[in-house]
């Protein structure tokens, strides 16, 4: 049995959803135009993942195996819709910026993946730790991508210009190809680092 600390840290390092499992790529590529969007998306995913893991774990002995996927989808969709409503009411600007990618959290494979691979076999406590670890790993990865793309693509961080007036923004990083390029470079870098450090 793994310790709780291991359960938490695996989501950030060994099983980092973006750089190790390469899951949930569509929003990862699309919303990381700026650090703020990336952070907002990451936090939304943490909230949904946490709620869905708790509920899926709580009903794990009640839901028959044959209908577990529709049950999970229904639970996840409910929490995503609530997050959508809350964002739309209290953070309309962020909601507009994230747009279609908020409702698409329903089909984000990280969330269904954790329900299927972890929460349905583990206690509520462990499922919470797992959700926090994986969610934080996702948020950190997204924010890293967002910071790099925003810094070099528009010369600012969280909307504040930091590169000085002489800096010529690399526009390509702010559009879709820039997302692939940044992700590819970071994936290669982390693979190299992990190999050197002997982490599998």
């Amino acid at each position: 049995m793994t310790t709780l600390t291991q359960e938490f840290s695996k989501g950030i390092v060994q099983e980092n959803p973006v750089f190790r499992l390469v899951l949930g790529m569509c929003p990862t590529l699309a919303v990381t135009v700026s650090a703020m969007n990336a952070l907002g998306m990451g936090i939304s995913v943490i909230v949904v993942l946490l709620c869905s893991n708790i509920v899926v774990s709580a009903v794990r002995n009640v839901v028959p195996a044959k209908v577990r996927i529709p049950a999970y989808i229904m639970i996840i969709a409910t929490f995503v819709t609530i997050v959508e409503m809350v964002l739309s009411a209290f953070a309309p600007e962020l909601f507009d910026a994230l747009g279609i990618f908020i409702p698409l959290i329903v089909v984000n494979c990280i969330i269904l993946g954790r329900a299927e691979a972890f929460a349905r076999k583990n206690t509520i406590g462990r499922s919470i730790i797992d959700a926090l670890g994986i969610g934080l790993g996702y948020t950190l990865s997204l924010t890293l991508l967002g910071v790099i793309r925003e810094l070099f693509g528009t010369g600012s961080i969280l909307g504040y210009p930091v590169m000085g007036t002489a800096f010529e923004p690399m526009g390509v990083l702010a559009v879709a190809p820039g997302a692939f390029i940044t992700l590819g470079i970071l994936l290669g870098l982390f693979n190299y680092l992990f190999k050197r450090l002997g982490i599998e």
């Binding site: 699309a30 009903v59 009640v62 839901v63 028959p64 044959k66 209908v67 529709p70 049950a71 229904m74 639970i75 969709a77 409910t78 819709t81 609530i82 409503m85 809350v86 739309s88 009411a89 209290f90 309309p92 747009g99 279609i100 879709a176």
Partner: protein
């Protein structure tokens, strides 16, 4: 048989609980969302017509039209809170037309068009093609306005709707 009933019941109960939770969340957030939208619209309206002093609302069909007056009581223009049908469902937008029948503003408030393709309707390139057109212009894709390739349904749907809205504004509101 017994298993089938259990599966159905479990799904039914989960569905009912989820539904109840969503209804509660909607009750709490819906008024705030509506107030946000209203504030956004009023800010946009002032952006279209900075001289606006007061306005009258008139509902025509399911859409609302705001006739804007300046401090002297002259009609300076009309803003329609209207709807077009695009590729991904309805597009809610505001169209501002001045007293001469020129389009002076276009604001997309809600849409479900494909990010990166159909959402060009929210970008300056498309808006520039529309702003400045007059009630007397044909406003037709391929005639006096070019649809944007790859987003024919989104831009074409917008143009058809703009023509329709221009007819309503021109015939029913500006003539008064």
């Amino acid at each position: 048989m017994h298993e089938g009933i259990k599966m159905t019941l479990v799904l039914l109960i989960i569905g009912a609980l989820c539904g109840a939770l969503l209804a509660t969340a909607n009750d709490v957030t819906a008024p705030i969302i509506a107030a946000n939208r209203e504030a956004e619209f009023l800010a946009a309206l002032e952006g279209f017509f900075p001289d606006v002093d007061n306005f009258e609302v008139e509902g025509i069909g399911k859409e609302e039209f705001y006739s804007c007056y300046n401090a002297c009581g002259d009609l300076i223009g009309v803003v329609g809170q209207v709807q077009a049908s695009g590729y991904g469902g309805d597009i809610d937008y505001d169209l501002a037309v001045n007293a001469d029948g020129d389009i002076v503003g276009l604001r997309i408030s809600a849409h479900g068009e494909t990010p990166g393709i159909g959402d060009v309707i929210t970008k300056p390139d498309f808006q520039d093609r529309v702003i400045g057109l007059n009630y007397a212009d044909p406003i037709e894709a391929g005639v006096d306005v070019d649809a944007i390739s790859g987003a024919t349904k989104s831009t074409g749907g917008m143009l058809i709707s703009i023509r329709r809205v221009m007819d309503i504004i021109g015939e029913q509101l500006l003539e008064k």
